[in-house]
């Protein structure tokens, strides 16, 4: 019950992010070209095809991870490479450079080991795009755990994704906005850790929210 009355020094400010998609001038028609594209595309492009892709497909829980993996699977018919790309968990990354490095390594290893397959033309072309982010405060803030729960309940998907998943890149920490605030401001380290453990690949954003709300309610003794 103590958690219910603890007041933060700094409130949690709910915000949303809205994205503009820029069409890049890069495209690829086979896996060798994908490797080149991953090496040279912008960080904003890596973000769009990984972090943002997860948001765009948050309602899919079975096997969708990023645009690269899906293209390799559906357009190149290379399930083993797709599997490796799918297994990259964006939550392990606090910098896009590191994520790009691992993507590049996986695709390069495949190209080296499967020279012929990597050069075969895909059914459809892959187009590199990138994201421009516009962050807009929602004007809702929480000073207590209860207010935080009420705010979380009313969030739309874009906002949830912004605070829960893409925040790693902003914070440069292996955590999310929610856990960061719960730990720093309310001293709820255990709750913060449990929130951060929720698997965003096997949950939809809605089911992740439900799990967080249950954890908050338990903390509030409700």
């Amino acid at each position: 019950m103590e958690a219910a009355v603890t007041q933060a020094k700094t409130p949690f400010q709910f915000a949303t992010a809205s994205y503009l998609v820029l069409i890049g001038n890069q495209e690829c028609s086979n896996i060798v070209e994908l490797q080149q594209g991953i090496e040279t595309c912008s960080d904003a492009s890596i973000f769009y095809h990984t972090f943002q892709s997860l948001e765009r497909h948050h309602f899919i829980t079975g096997g969708f991870s990023n645009d690269f993996a899906q293209w390799v699977f559906a357009s190149c018919n290379r399930p083993s490479l797709a599997e490796q790309l799918v297994s990259l968990d964006i939550r392990d990354y606090v910098s896009l450079a590191d994520l790009r490095g691992d993507l590049r390594r996986i695709v390069a290893d495949y190209c080296q080991a499967h020279e012929r397959e990597a050069a075969q033309p895909a059914f459809e072309t892959f187009y590199f795009c990138e994201t421009i982010e516009e962050i807009v405060p929602l004007g809702i803030e929480a000073w207590t755990l209860e207010e935080f729960r009420d705010g979380l309940k009313a969030l739309a998907h874009a906002s949830l994704q912004f605070h829960f998943i893409t925040s790693r890149l902003r914070l440069h920490l292996h955590t999310n906005d929610f856990s960061n605030w719960l730990s720093k401001e309310l001293g709820l380290d255990d709750l913060a850790r449990k929130v951060d453990q929720i698997d965003v690949y096997t949950n939809t954003l809605d089911s992740a929210r439900i799990t967080i709300l249950k954890l908050l309610d338990r903390e509030l003794g409700q």
């Binding site: 069409i23 890049g24 948050h58 899919i60 459809e124 807009v136 739309a156 906002s159």
Partner: protein, 412 residues
Amino acid sequence: MTQTTTDVHVSTLDDYAEVLGAAAIAEIRALAKRLQGRTVLMVNSTPVGGGVAEMLNRAVPLMQELEIGVRWDVITGGDDFFAVTKAFHNALHGGTFDLPEESFATFLAYNEQNRARLHFDADFTVIHDPQPVALIEARQNHGGHWIWRCHIDLSRPNRKVWEFLEPFVSRYDGAIFSSPEFSRQLPIPQYLFYPSIDPLADKNRELDPGVITEVLQRFGIDAQRPILTQISRFDRLKDPLGVVRAYQIVKRYFDCQLVLAGGGASDDPEGEAVLAEVRDAAGKDADIHILDLPPWSATEINALQRASTIIIQKSLREGFGLTVTEGLWKKKPVVASAVGGIPTQVIHKHTGLLVHSIEGTAYQIRFLLSNPAIAQRLGEQGHEHVREHFLITSSVRGALTLFLHLSGKESK
């Protein structure tokens, strides 16, 4: 006289909360708040008919409700102008261009006439499609941000026509395309905005089961047996003969029906020929229902889609494919060709099944008829995909984000 559309009844933003949730609507309002008092001018070439007018008819009132000063003007022109723009349209889709050199002068003369007639005093001017593209000339006297929105596929344009239009396009602050595949190499930023459907329009709103039953009865379709449906104009690029062939393969295994419904046969000689070919291919099979529907058949199309077991879109070439969007919105499993904007909507094995041949189409239909639980999951995920990305509210959100982005550039 400027033609301004002001009297079209449309749903309010809050009405969309029932499909999107109140939080998503609140986010749109939060985005718009930073743009209050700013002005937007939309310009296209027709107030009714066609996807652009339909989209503007919905989006403009929603943006006005958000207290953004949006005005929608329509350019005017004589038959000679529209003959040129029709020829441009076909040529930009990859066709030939056979009009004389003077047609370029005709195009410019009407654009100039409209430039003199319209008022370009908005903070953001969005010019839709090639017909009014030369209005960019007005920019030097009025300023503001200018965006060209291209709703057509420019992937294989006729060189002569594109070389004429490109210098105008390159003077805009940015261009919007419906798919990366449809875009061109340009010196300006190119944004990706998907087309959208209105979930509250007659073609997409929820229907009373009685309405669906009545429509099926009217067309002699059996509600008790599987219904495979393709909604499309009778056009060779939609491959209706391929659909009939795929159905005939499936029919060996399942007692199903095929509905091919669309228009375009009555006012288009080629459509009439295609319709005759389809009827011929169908032969005497009473389970193939070929429906040449008039343009005012939104409710009928809605009912047919909702009654369907599987929606097919076996196009050989496609724009974005809004009939796919409509099918997905109705939670239907979709089997569709991997062409144009379809792979953006149908994520293979997640929101539907992509195919590349008649045999593949037949196989995936058989797979779905044998696995209704998978079909249901695809339909549900397809519905969510549309809810997130391809509804009119997403278009409004996208436009607001673009305007915010351009406003942010002003202060840098």
